[in-house]
C-alpha cells in the first residue's frame, strides 16, 4: 500500500496583544481548511492566539543557506546604517 502523506503547512499565529502573525511551526493537513483546524488544536491549546494563517510550505521561497555569505555578510561592517549618529534633543525624551 502506498502511503500518501498530506502536504506540509506553515502556521502563523497572532497573539492576544495585536502583534504581527508569528511563525509557530508546521503541520500536515489535506487542505487549507483542515490545516486551520489542526493548527487550532496543535498550537492554540493554551489560548495563544486570536488569528491563524496557514501557508503551504511548498509555496514559500527561501534564500539558499549556501549563499549566506554574499547575502548577509556585506552588511556586517556598515554600522552607519543604524540611525545611531544623531544627537537627540533632550526635550524629545525617550525614543
Amino acid at each position: 500500500m502506498s502511503r500518501k502523506e498530506w502536504p506540509l503547512w506553515e502556521i502563523f499565529i497572532r497573539g492576544q496583544h495585536g502583534l504581527n502573525h508569528r511563525h509557530v511551526g508546521s503541520l500536515h493537513a489535506p487542505d487549507a481548511e483542515m490545516a486551520i483546524r489542526n493548527a487550532r488544536d496543535v498550537y492554540t491549546r493554551r489560548k495563544e492566539g486570536v488569528s491563524i494563517w496557514v501557508v503551504r510550505s511548498a509555496d514559500i521561497t527561501a534564500s539558499a543557506p549556501s549563499e549566506k555569505g554574499p547575502m548577509f555578510d556585506p552588511a556586517e561592517s556598515k554600522v552607519y546604517r543604524h540611525p545611531t549618529f544623531f544627537d537627540i534633543p533632550d526635550e524629545v525624551g525617550h525614543m
Partner: protein, 284 residues
C-alpha cells in the same frame, strides 16, 4: 529556615467554598422533593461526558496522525472538564458530602447513568468519529436548550460547555463529510459505523420519570423536543457525506440512563477506577 507558604498547590477546599459562595442562588438546589430526580439527571449529563471523554482519550498516543491525535485528546479533555462541572453540581445537590471525584471513581456500573451509545468500544476511526458526531449533534441541541434553563447553575454550566461543543460538532461534521464522501474504503467504513450505532440512538430521545420531573421543574427540555433539530443536522451532514440512514429502528438498545449497561462499561470502569480502588485516596 522557615518553610515558605506553598504557592503552587492552591487550597482546594477554600477555593471550592469561595467558588460555591459566589454562585448565583438557585432554589432548585433546596427543593427536597426534586432532589433524587435532579441528582440522577445531573449524573446522566456528567456520566455521558465522562464515558465518552474516556473512550476518546483511549486514542491518545495511538491516533493515525499527530494532528488528529492532539485534536481527539483536546476533545476528551473538554468532555472531562464538563464532567467535573456536572458531577460537581450533582454532588452538591445530593448533599451527602460526596465530590465529583467520588462519583466518577467510586460508583459501580449499575449506578452510572450514561447512554449505552457512549460506552461502546471505539473499534476504528470511523466508529469513533461517527459516534462522536451523532452525540455532538444531540449535545449541541441539549446545551443550547439548557442555556435557557430556569436553574441558573445549570444554565451557567451549559453556556460554558456549549462553546466547546459547538467546535466539536463543527469538527466532527466536517470529518464525517470528508470520510463519507472520501475513498471507497472510508465510505464503506463510515456506512458500517452508522449502521452499527443506529440501534443505540433512540435512547437519547426516550423520556422517563426523571426526565419528566426535571422538565416540569423548568430545568431541562423534554428529550423528545430535541429530536427534530437533531434529525435535521444529522440528515444534512449524512446527505453531504453520501451516507444513508438505515431504515431500521433506532430504539433497540436502551437502559443506560437507568443503569442498565452493556458489558463494555465494566471494562472502562475497571481501567478508570483501578487506582482509586487499589489505593484509596491516592492523589498527586
Amino acid at each position: 529556615m522557615p518553610s515558605l507558604p506553598d504557592m503552587t498547590t492552591p487550597d482546594v477546599v477554600a477555593l471550592a467554598e469561595r467558588a460555591a459562595a459566589s454562585q448565583p442562588h438557585d432554589p432548585h438546589l433546596e427543593d427536597v422533593d426534586l432532589r433524587p430526580a435532579f441528582f440522577d439527571w445531573l449524573c446522566r449529563m456528567g456520566d455521558n461526558t465522562l464515558i465518552l471523554g474516556h473512550r476518546i482519550s483511549e486514542w491518545c498516543g495511538h491516533g493515525p496522525v499527530l494532528e488528529e491525535d492532539i485534536a481527539l485528546a483536546n476533545t476528551a479533555l473538554d468532555l472531562i472538564g464538563h464532567t467535573q462541572m456536572w458531577l460537581g453540581l450533582a454532588a452538591e445537590v445530593e448533599g451527602e458530602g460526596r465530590t465529583a471525584d467520588d462519583l466518577a471513581f467510586l460508583r459501580d456500573a449499575m449506578r452510572f447513568r450514561n447512554l449505552q451509545l457512549l460506552e461502546l468500544p471505539n473499534r476504528d476511526m470511523a466508529v469513533t468519529l461517527m459516534r462522536e458526531f451523532l452525540f455532538d449533534a444531540w449535545h449541541f441541541e441539549m446545551l443550547t436548550a439548557l442555556c435557557g434553563s430556569q436553574s441558573p447553575r445549570v444554565a451557567e454550566i451549559a453556556a460554558k460547555a456549549l462553546k466547546e461543543v459547538s467546535y466539536h460538532l463543527e469538527r466532527s461534521s466536517d470529518l464525517i463529510v470528508r470520510l463519507g464522501d472520501g475513498s471507497e474504503e472510508s465510505h464503506r467504513r463510515m456506512q458500517d459505523a452508522l449502521d452499527r450505532l443506529w440501534p443505540y440512538l433512540g435512547e437519547m430521545f426516550v423520556e422517563d420519570a426523571v426526565d419528566k420531573a426535571v422538565a416540569e421543574a423548568g430545568i431541562a427540555p423534554r428529550p423528545a423536543d430535541l429530536r427534530g433539530a437533531w434529525e435535521q443536522t444529522v440528515n444534512e451532514v449524512l446527505e453531504e457525506a453520501t451516507l444513508a440512514s438505515p431504515d431500521t429502528r433506532m430504539d433497540v438498545h436502551q437502559g443506560g440512563k437507568q443503569g442498565r449497561h452493556t458489558e463494555h462499561l465494566g471494562y472502562i470502569l475497571a481501567e478508570m477506577q483501578f487506582l482509586q480502588r487499589a489505593y484509596p485516596g491516592a492523589s498527586w
